[in-house]
Every structure is written in C-alpha cells, then in structure tokens.
Symmetry: C2
Subunit: 154 residues, 2 copies
C-alpha cells in the first residue's frame, strides 16, 4: 500500500485530523452560543453532526499520534477499509448538516429578511458557525479521498 | 483498467445514467409545479442543480449508447478522469441542493408549522421533489464511486 500525503499514521494525516476536530469544535461552540438555535432542526442537526465529526477525528488523531510514536505502519487493508467507511459517513453527514444550516440561514437573511427586521436574531453567529462547518467538511473530504485512493490502489 | 458494474460503456452504466436523468427530471417537474417555489433560494437551487445533473447524465447516457452500439471501450484514463471530476462535482451539488431544500421543508413543516396553518402551501410537492432528488443523488453517488475506483485501480 502506497504512502501518500494525508494517509494514516503520517504527520500530514495528523494535521488533517487535528484541523477537522478543531473546526468542528469551533463550529459547535459558536452555534451553541447563538440565541435560540435549538428552535431549529437544521441547527441542532449541525451540532450533532459536528459532534460526531469531532469525536471521529479526535479518535483518529490519537491513533496517528500513537502510530507516529511507536513508528507503527497503519497501512493495512482492513484498517484502511474501516477508515474509508467512517470518513465517508462523517463527510456525507457533515456536508448535509452544513448545507441544511446554510439553507435555513439564507432563508432568514435573504428570502424573509428576518435578520434585518429582528436584530436579536444571531444571524452573524449562525453564518460563522456554518463557515467553520464547511471548512471541517473540506478537510474530512480530503481525508476521505486519500483513504479511498489508498484502498483502491492496493 | 477493470470493467466493473456501472462502469462507462456498459449496460449497467447506461441504466444508472438513465435513472439519474429520470429522477432529476421528475424532481424538477414536481418542484416547478409547486406554488411559489421561486420565492425560496433553496428550492431554486434544487431546480438548477437537478437541471445540471439531468444534462450531465443525459450526455453520458448518450455516450454509453454510442459506445454500446459501436462496441467501443471507454476505459481509458483520460476519459475516466473527466467522468470522475464531472460525477463528483454534480454529486456534491446534488447532495447540497437536496439537503438545503429538505432543511427548508423541515423548517416549514415542523419548526414553524406553516404547512398545517397555510394549506395552500405546497409542502407535499416539496417533499416528493426532495425525495426524488435524494434518489438521483444516490444513483450519481454510485456512479462516482465506481468511476473513482476505476481511476484509482489503474
């Protein structure tokens, strides 16, 4: 199995995992600090999905640190298959959550004009949280493609 | 390059493409027949994205028919790379559009209760159109994975 940039048990792989975890965590933090987010299903789904993403990435970051420390090779087909499934599931859920929340925010900001007419509505926080969720998705998408490439090129 | 189920220039590939085109077309048809859909950005985006999806799948279906007719092999790396990029872009856009529209519909039906309180609101049509969009996405996701697998296993 080839070793490419971002593959498991490498420094680039570890940086990707830490990035995913950090952006997902920041997205959750900003969303839960926004007033009344829990009244909207899409925003609750974003928090749940980013929570799952952060946990998954944190787990794999710990595994990467362990592999780097004891210089163990994580490139075996069974392990990579597991990473592929996990990465694809979390990536799809993260994209779905980010798009869902973005659609609701666009509805509030543009279609109905709630953000202008109701100033106590935390539209700014919703937007920042969604932007961070999209960055987290981008990083997990890179990991997913690398894992799938590794598995397919066995 | 291996020939797997759903790869370009095969009968299964053609069936997948026709399915994508049909579901995307049906999704557009039902959405545009819903009253006032154009007031919401997410629903307009669904129509645009499904339009792109239908055009792309129609083009590749025609190419599959041509390849089957003259028994030409479409498994060359340059062509498959082109299919991979197109499939991934349309699949991501389709998922984003379906999730966005679903989030807005959930907001109307569950969070705000508009669907119950305003009967002339075409919530049923929105839901059917979104379900068809998700089926179209599922089919294009299968095609995308097959194409990526083909490219990676060269």
């Amino acid at each position: 199995m080839k070793v490419v940039v971002g593959s498991p048990g490498t420094w680039t792989g570890l940086v990707l995992r830490i990035g995913q975890c950090a952006f997902a965590g920041a997205s959750i933090g900003i969303m839960v600090s926004a007033l009344g987010f829990s009244n909207y299903t899409a925003f609750c789904y974003l928090v749940a999905s980013m929570g799952l993403q952060a946990l998954w990435s944190l787990g794999l970051a710990c595994l990467d640190i362990y592999a780097l420390k004891i210089k163990r090779d994580l490139h075996n087909p069974v392990l990579v298959s597991l990473f592929v499934v996990g990465d694809w599931v979390t990536a799809t859920l993260s994209l779905a959550a980010a798009c869902s929340s973005a659609a609701v925010t666009v509805l509030f900001a543009r279609d109905t004009g709630f953000c202008r007419s109701i100033p106590q509505f935390s539209c700014g926080k919703f937007e920042v949280s969604i932007a961070l969720a999209f960055i987290a998705w981008l990083l997990i998408a890179i990991s997913s493609l690398v894992m799938f490439w590794l598995l397919a090129s066995v």
